[in-house]
């Protein structure tokens, strides 16, 4: 019998190991699986390589994971916002590694990782510092840069509705990196606002089919990250 539902976020992330590569969904706060990330802070796995578009805000969510010194390296496109404090401080001290990737290249590297494509050529970043040291090949009259797929040990993803088979739907622009990240991890862990009965999700509207997902946990009232940041909250909770 297939039942991917686990009862707590702590149980969902219990086996994340030291040195793992972890994909974390979200574009800023939209789609960021704050409760799963906090469970990972509690769990304590270290030396993680995190792949996420941003590097967290304030002292909660991804910023809390970084502040707890669990992240050795981050692969991302935009590691600062007006309210990011944790990453910039550690980066300036040389205590966290950054691999800066154009946003579309980041999405495509993850998509490729999930689709069994080891590498691809993209026109983005040609003749810029981000292409330095990378293979360039000419197709037609244009140059393209070789980029490698990203595959991960775990993915932490937020969605709006899930069923026990792991079928997922998302909400608005909180979808962002979720669907591609689900495809590219050995273990994909999803927090859903609501878990529904099998059959309730219209198969025509399912965005992530269940075989890309391994665990689903219901978080009925997920935190608004921006609200936590505005209230100057910290995780572990201050």
């Amino acid at each position: 019998m297939i039942n991917k539902i686990v009862s707590t976020v702590n149980e969902a992330v219990a086996d994340v190991f030291d040195g793992a590569t972890v994909l974390i969904s979200g574009f800023g706060e939209a789609g960021s699986p704050v409760e799963l990330i906090h469970a990972l802070v509690d769990q304590g796995a270290k030396n993680l390589t995190v792949v996420s578009n941003n590097a967290g805000s304030g002292h909660v969510g991804l910023a809390a994971l970084i502040e707890n010194r669990q992240v050795r390296k981050i692969i991302c496109s935009f590691p600062r916002t007006s309210i990011s404090v944790v990453f910039p401080e550690l980066y300036r001290k040389g205590e966290i590694e950054l691999e800066l990737v154009p946003q579309g290249t980041l999405a495509e590297r993850i998509r490729a990782g999930g689709a069994g494509i080891p590498a691809f050529f993209t026109p983005a970043s040609v003749n810029t510092p981000l292409a330095e040291g990378k293979e360039v090949r000419t197709f037609g009259k244009r140059d393209f840069v070789l980029e490698y797929a990203i595959k991960a040990d775990f993915a932490l993803v937020k969605c709006s509705k899930a069923d026990k088979y792991g079928n997922l739907v998302y909400n608005k622009t909180a979808r962002n990196f979720g669907p591609v990240m689900c495809t590219a991890a050995k273990t994909t862990i999803v927090q859903a606002k609501q878990i529904v009965e099998v059959g309730q999700l219209d198969p025509e509207c399912v965005i992530t089919p269940g075989n890309f997902v391994h665990r689903v946990v219901e978080v009925a009232n997920p935190a608004d990250e921006s609200k936590l940041v505005a209230e100057e909250r910290r995780y572990p909770w201050n």
Binding site: G28, S77, P79, Q103, G104, E108, T173, R175, N176, P179
Partner: protein, 219 residues
């Protein structure tokens, strides 16, 4: 130079908007480019793409109606128009790289006379490097419009012979809209298409650190 010369921000945005045709799919960068949406001439239907997964972006959300799961590329709370579509990031950048977005309007630190754009880093050692989707946009969208003040706050020309800041892309800019002129990049040459009121070609050239040509199509 007198302050009264040249176009103000609204006029600059209007100049860009005038060049966006009916039916265009448009990506607006963060900051000054966002203003353009407010100036599209009546009767034209323009669909806005935001790279975080929405085609059919509407106006900024009203106070009290903000949805933290409905944001634009600048992470502002926005709305979606009737007929909008959501999609994931790989699809969004397939739209960009695959040539399905007609026009992208971006800001700039520097633009070279060959249409090179520098708009993501000033190379400042202390700055946290961040690139976002700019490199994908300039590589994938055919018409890259740049909207920017002609000079920096300290009076240096943003239009230069060669960019000294790290590039976003090479030979990518098609048209530059400044407070002083509208300039086309044609065959690696800067052709002035329109001068702002009160600005002469000679004055413009004096304020520009690259060679300018008067366009045959100038207004």
């Amino acid at each position: 130079m007198e302050l009264s010369k040249g176009w103000n921000l609204a006029q600059m945005a209007q100049n860009v908007a005038n060049d966006i045709p009916d039916g265009a799919y448009v990506n607006l960068g963060i900051g000054m480019p966002e203003l353009v949406a407010g100036f599209i001439p009546e009767g034209r239907e323009v669909i806005y793409h935001t790279e975080n997964g929405l085609l059919g972006m509407g106006e900024v959300a009203e106070v009290g109606y903000e949805d933290p799961e409905l944001v634009n590329a600048g992470k502002k709370y926005v709305t979606a128009i009737p007929g909008a579509a959501y999609f994931h990031h790989a699809d969004s950048f397939a739209m960009i790289r695959g040539g399905h977005i007609d026009i992208c309007v971006l800001g700039a630190y520097q633009i070279s006379e060959e249409g090179d754009l520098a708009n993501w880093s000033t190379g400042d050692e202390d700055a946290i490097p961040a690139v976002g989707g700019a490199m994908d946009l300039v590589a994938g969208v055919e018409n890259i419009f740049v909207i920017t003040k002609h000079c920096t706050k300290s009076g240096e020309s943003k239009i230069v012979k060669h960019c000294t800041y790290p590039l976003t892309g090479k030979n990518v800019v098609s048209r530059i809209y400044t407070d002083l002129a509208i300039i086309d990049v044609v065959d690696k040459k800067l052709e002035v298409r329109e001068l702002a009121p009160g600005i002469s070609f000679e004055e413009l050239q004096e304020l520009t650190a690259a060679e300018l040509y008067m366009s045959n199509y100038s207004i």
